[in-house]
C-alpha cells in the first residue's frame, strides 16, 4: 500500500464507524476539492452509494460555477441533498472582524441544520495541515448542546476508538480527512479522476487554491492550469493554502473564535 492507499483505507474506516455509530448522520458538501474527495471516499466505503444525506449550508455567496457543479453532481452521484440557508450578517457577533463575521453566518446556518435534522453526526472535510487550530482536532470531535468546541476538554482518542455522544443535544463532528495534506488531496483527485470546479485551475495568471464565499476569497498568482501543474506547484510552494481566505488573517485569534463557536 502506498501513502494514498493508506489514507484512503483509514478514511473509509472512519466513515464506516460514523455510519455505524451516529444516527442520523449527514455529510457537509461545500462543493470544494476536499468535500468532493470526501463524497468519493463515501462511495468507496459503501460500494458506490452515499447512504446518508449530504448537506450544503448555502451562504448564497458562492461562485456561480459552484452552484452549477452542485446541481450537476447531485444527479450524477445520486446524492440526497439537504439545503440550508444562513442568517444575514447583521445577526452575527459584531465584535468579530468583517470577514470572520461574514464566515460566522455559515456556523449559524449549520447549527440550524443540525437542530432541524436532529443530527448526531456531521462529517466535515477539515484537515490538520490547513490551520493551527484544526491541527488540534480529533477525528471524532464531540460538540455540546451549544455546538461549542471545548478545546480544553477534548476526549482521548487512540487505537482507532472514537468518542460517541453521551449527553442529549450533543453531536459529533467526524473528520475523515484530518490526516490528509493538501498535496495528498490533489494526488488522489488525479489518481481517481474526481471532478472539480475549474476555478482551481489558472486563468490569466491566477487560480483559487481554496474556495470559500466569493466576497472573502481571493485567487493566488499561479500558472497551474492542469492537475499535473497544480501538483508540481504544491511540491515547491512555501505559501499557505488558506492565504486567500480573508478571515484567517484579520487577527491572531479570529479563526479560533470562529471554530470554538462551531465553525468548521
Amino acid at each position: 500500500m502506498d501513502h494514498l492507499d493508506q489514507l484512503e483505507a483509514q478514511s473509509v474506516f472512519i466513515l464506516r464507524e460514523a455510519y455505524r455509530k451516529l444516527k442520523p448522520l449527514a455529510m457537509l458538501w461545500s462543493l470544494g476539492k476536499d468535500s468532493n474527495v470526501m463524497v468519493w471516499l463515501a462511495k468507496k466505503a459503501f460500494l458506490g452509494r452515499v447512504p446518508f444525506p449530504v448537506m450544503h449550508v448555502d451562504t448564497g455567496k458562492k461562485f456561480p460555477e459552484m452552484y452549477q457543479f452542485r446541481d450537476e453532481y447531485t444527479k450524477k452521484w445520486e446524492l440526497d441533498l439537504l439545503l440550508g440557508d444562513c442568517p444575514p450578517v447583521e445577526e452575527m457577533d459584531p465584535s468579530l472582524p468583517p470577514a470572520a463575521r461574514s464566515a460566522a453566518r455559515k456556523t449559524a446556518g449549520l447549527a440550524a441544520m443540525i437542530e432541524k435534522h436532529k443530527l448526531q453526526g456531521v462529517i466535515a472535510g477539515i484537515r490538520r495541515d490547513e490551520q493551527g487550530t484544526r491541527a488540534k482536532e480529533r477525528v471524532f470531535s464531540p460538540r455540546g448542546a451549544s455546538h461549542k468546541w471545548d478545546i480544553r476538554n477534548q476526549p482521548p482518542e487512540f487505537w482507532d476508538q472514537y468518542a460517541t455522544p453521551h449527553e442529549d443535544g450533543m453531536h459529533i463532528r467526524v473528520h475523515p480527512l484530518l490526516s490528509w495534506r493538501e498535496i495528498d488531496i490533489w494526488r488522489y483527485i488525479e489518481r481517481e479522476g474526481i471532478p472539480l470546479v475549474d476555478l482551481y485551475f489558472a486563468k490569466n495568471g491566477k487560480r483559487y487554491r481554496s474556495l470559500g464565499d466569493a466576497d472573502i476569497t481571493s485567487p493566488v498568482e499561479s500558472n497551474a492550469a492542469t492537475l499535473a501543474e497544480v501538483i508540481a506547484e504544491l511540491e515547491t510552494t512555501k505559501t499557505s493554502e488558506r492565504s486567500g481566505r480573508a478571515m484567517d488573517h484579520e487577527s491572531e485569534d479570529a479563526f479560533e473564535r470562529l471554530r470554538v463557536a462551531g465553525y468548521l
Binding site: 500500500m1 460500494l47 495541515d129 499557505s240
Partner: protein, 626 residues
C-alpha cells in the same frame, strides 16, 4: 497545519515528542522546523509578532501552540501533528503536552507513533512527567526512543556532567525495559546538534537529532502474520450482503475458508467487493474491504474472521496493563465496556494485581488505581473474548476501556488470559459435592435470586418482607437481603459515591449467589439505581437472576418519604440521593414489574409471590421464557 511544506509519496513516519513540562519540547520542534527549512513564508515574522505582543523575545513554541490559551499561559493544552520533511523522507511530528492533567492528550498524539523523542532537561534530569511519559511509551509499545538531553549549554557542554545525566536516564529507561536508541546532547534554543553539528561539543561523535530521525526504522509489514479481520459492519445493498471491515493483519483471498467469531461458524470468502477499482482477489493488512460470504451468514460487529489453523487466544478473564485516564481512582468491582478493535465486551474489574509507584517505577499491591496511574488488573466478561496478546508495532490486544456513558477512561493492552496463573493471589474455590439437583429435591424448589430495584420509598422492603412471610408459610426456604440491613453490617464501610454503590451491589450479589447456590430463594431489596450495577449483579449471579421493578413514581415516593430522606435531600442535607440529585435508571425489560404507586400492598405482594412460586416450583417449562 499550513506552516510546513511537504511532498513525498511515501507514508509519513509519526514521531512523538514527549518530556516533562518546560524541558523544551515546543522550542525543540520550532527550531527543528526552522533549521530544516520546513517553515512557510512569513511564519517566522508571524511568530516574532505574536511573541512581541506578549513581551517575549522569540517564542518558538508559538508555532505549535496555536491556541490563544496556550500562547497566553505558555503551556501546550493539546497535541498537534505537523508534517515535516527531511531530504526525501516524510514525518509527522506529534507535539504532546507535558502537564500531568493532559495525559489523555499525550496518549492521543503518541499512540500511533513509530518512535519517540524524549526531551530531558540536562540540568534537572528526569522528573515526574519524564517517568510517566517513559512508562506510557513502554505501555503503548513504542520501542524506538531517542533521548534528547536539552539545555546542555547550562552545563557548559561539559562531557562528564552530560554523561552523568545520561547514566541516570538510562537507568530509568532500563527499569521499563526500554533502551534509548541514541542520546543526543543538544541546545534546542541555539540549535546545537539539532540539524547541524555543535562546535561547542567536539567530544560528541554520535548523530545530531536529524541524523537520528533519519535512522528510525520503517514499520514492518503486517501482511505475513496470521489473518485477523474484525467485522466493522454488515450492509445489505440491493440483493447483496457485504461484510465490511479493515484487515488488522494478515491476508485474505477469494476462496479462503474463514472461521467467524466465538461461534466458530465457517464460511468461504465468495468475493472481495469494491467500487471504482479493479476487482481484487486478495487483500492484506491495513486495507478497508468488503467481502461477501458463502453461505450467506450474518456475522455481528466485533466478530473476528480468521483462518481455521491460526485462531486467536480466547478467555473470559484477561489480564491487562492499564493506563488509567479518569480523574477519579479505579476500584475493584467497577464495570466498563472493553473495546477491542470493533468488538465490545461488558467487563468487570475483578482484581488489581499491582499498581506502579511513579516515584521509583516499582510495582506494589494496591486496592485502587489513582487518577492517571498505571496498574496491572484483571477484567472478567460474561462471554469469551477473542484476542491476541499486545505486541509493540502490531494492532494486537489494543484494549480500551469506556465507561457507561461511552467515555474513554483508560487504555488496557491485553497481556494474556487470567484463568490459570494469577500469581500469589491465585484462589481456588472448592466445588460442593452436593448437587443443585440434590438440594432442589430436598427443598422442593430451586434456588433463585429476585432482584427488587426501585426508588427509595417505592416499597421494596415492605414488599420483600411480606412476600418472605407468605413464601415461608408456603414452605419455601427464603431469605431477604435488604439495603439498610446490608449497610448496617457487611457494607458499613461504604458510602454513597458511585464506586461505593457499585461495591455495595457487588457484595449483595455475591452473598445472594452463595445463598442461591445453597438452594435458597433470595429476595434482594436494593435501590441499585444504575443499569450497569444491576448488569454486574446479573453477571455475578448468572442463571437464576430475575429483575423485579418495584415501580412507583418519584412524586409518590417523595410524598411517602418513610425515612424522611427526600426531605433531607431537598434541604441539601444529603447529597447524591437517587431521584433528587443522582439518577435512577429504570429497568428496560424487567422479568416482573410491580406497580406500587396506587394499588394495595396486598395485591402487589400477591403478584410477587405468585411470580416467585411459579418460577421456583416449576420444572423446566417455567424457564422457557428467556
Amino acid at each position: 497545519m499550513s506552516d510546513t511544506i511537504s511532498s513525498s509519496q511515501d507514508a509519513a513516519t509519526p514521531i512523538v515528542i514527549v518530556g516533562h513540562v518546560d524541558h523544551g519540547k515546543s522550542t525543540l520542534i520550532g527550531r527543528l522546523l526552522h533549521d530544516t527549512d520546513n517553515l512557510q513564508d512569513g511564519k517566522v515574522a508571524q511568530i516574532i509578532e505574536s511573541s512581541k505582543k506578549r513581551g517575549l523575545k522569540i517564542e518558538w513554541s508559538f508555532l505549535l501552540d496555536s491556541l490563544q490559551i496556550e500562547r497566553d499561559q505558555g503551556v501546550t493544552v493539546d497535541s498537534t501533528r505537523i508534517p515535516f520533511r527531511l531530504d526525501t523522507r516524510e514525518y509527522v511530528i506529534v507535539d504532546a503536552p507535558g502537564h500531568r492533567q493532559f495525559l489523555r492528550n499525550m496518549i492521543t498524539g503518541a499512540a500511533d507513533a513509530e518512535a519517540a523523542v524524549l526531551v530531558v532537561d540536562a540540568v534537572e534530569g528526569a522528573r515526574e512527567q519524564t517517568r510517566r511519559h517513559a512508562m506510557l511509551l513502554h505501555l503503548i509499545g513504542i520501542r524506538h526512543v531517542i533521548v534528547l538531553l536539552n539545555k546542555v549549554d547550562l552545563l557548559d557542554f561539559d562531557q562528564a556532567k552530560v554523561e552523568a545525566v545520561e547514566v541516570s536516564v538510562n537507568e530509568l529507561l532500563g527499569k521499563l525495559g526500554l533502551e534509548a536508541a541514541y542520546f543526543v546532547p543538544a541546545s534546542a534554543r541555539d540549535g546545537d546538534n539539532i540539524a547541524s553539528r555543535s562546535e561547542r561539543m567536539p567530544w560528541y561523535s554520535g548523530p545530531t537529532l536529524t541524523e537520528a530521525l533519519a535512522r528510525v526504522p520503517t514499520p514492518a509489514s503486517r501482511s505475513e502474520l496470521a489473518l485477523r479481520f474484525p467485522v466493522q459492519d454488515v450492509y445489505r445493498f440491493g440483493d447483496k450482503r457485504y461484510v465490511a471491515g479493515r484487515i488488522e493483519r494478515g491476508r485474505v483471498r477469494v476462496g479462503d475458508t474463514v472461521v467467524i467469531g466465538t461461534q466458530k461458524t465457517p464460511a468461504r470468502i465468495a468475493s472481495i467487493e469494491s467500487w471504482h477499482t479493479a476487482p481484487h482477489v486478495s487483500a492484506s493488512a491495513g486495507q478497508s474491504i468488503a467481502v461477501t460470504l458463502e453461505p450467506d451468514v450474518i456475522p455481528d460487529r466485533g466478530d473476528l474472521l480468521h483462518h481455521v489453523d491460526t485462531p486467536p487466544a480466547q478467555a473470559s478473564r484477561v489480564r491487562t496493563r492499564l493506563f488509567w485516564l479518569r480523574q477519579e481512582p479505579l476500584r475493584v468491582g467497577e464495570s466498563f465496556r472493553l473495546r477491542l478493535a470493533t468488538a465490545e465486551h461488558a467487563v468487570t474489574v475483578t482484581s488489581i494485581e499491582s499498581v506502579v509507584n511513579l516515584d521509583d517505577l516499582t510495582m506494589h499491591p494496591g486496592t485502587e488505581v489513582p487518577p492517571e496511574g498505571f496498574a496491572e488488573i484483571t477484567l472478567s466478561a460474561a462471554e469469551n473474548i477473542q484476542f491476541d496478546a499486545f505486541a509493540p508495532g502490531t494492532p494486537d490486544g489494543r484494549g480500551v476501556l469506556v465507561d457507561l456513558q461511552q467515555r474513554i477512561v483508560g487504555g488496557a493492552p491485553l497481556i494474556g488470559p487470567a484463568d490459570i496463573a494469577v500469581g500469589e493471589k491465585s484462589i481456588h474455590p472448592s466445588a460442593s459435592v452436593v448437587t443443585t439437583q440434590d438440594r432442589q429435591r430436598v427443598k422442593g424448589h430451586k434456588g433463585q435470586v429476585f432482584w427488587l430495584t426501585g426508588l427509595s420509598g417505592s416499597g421494596k422492603s415492605t414488599l420483600a418482607r411480606a412476600a418472605e412471610n407468605a413464601l415461608f408459610s408456603a414452605g419455601v426456604d427464603v431469605s431477604v437481603l435488604d439495603g439498610d440491613t446490608l449497610r448496617a453490617g457487611l457494607c458499613k464501610d461504604l458510602g454513597f459515591t458511585e464506586a461505593d454503590r457499585t461495591e455495595n451491589v457487588r457484595r449483595a450479589a455475591e452473598v445472594a449467589r452463595i445463598l442461591r447456590d445453597a438452594g435458597q430463594v433470595v429476595l434482594v431489596a436494593l435501590i441499585s439505581p444504575l443499569r450497569s450495577d444491576r448488569e454486574l449483579a446479573r453477571q455475578i449471579i448468572g442463571d437464576g437472576f430475575e429483575e423485579v421493578f418495584v415501580d412507583a413514581d418519584l412524586d409518590t415516593c417523595e410524598q411517602r418519604d418513610p425515612k424522611g430522606l427526600y426531605a433531607a435531600a431537598r434541604a441539601g442535607k444529603i447529597n447524591g440521593f437517587t431521584g433528587i440529585d443522582a439518577p435512577y435508571e429504570a429497568p428496560q425489560a424487567p422479568a416482573l414489574r410491580v406497580a406500587t404507586g396506587d394499588g394495595s400492598v396486598e395485591s402487589a405482594v400477591a403478584q410477587l409471590v405468585s411470580f416467585v412460586e411459579g418460577s421456583v416450583r416449576a420444572g423446566s417449562n417455567a424457564r422457557a421464557r428467556s
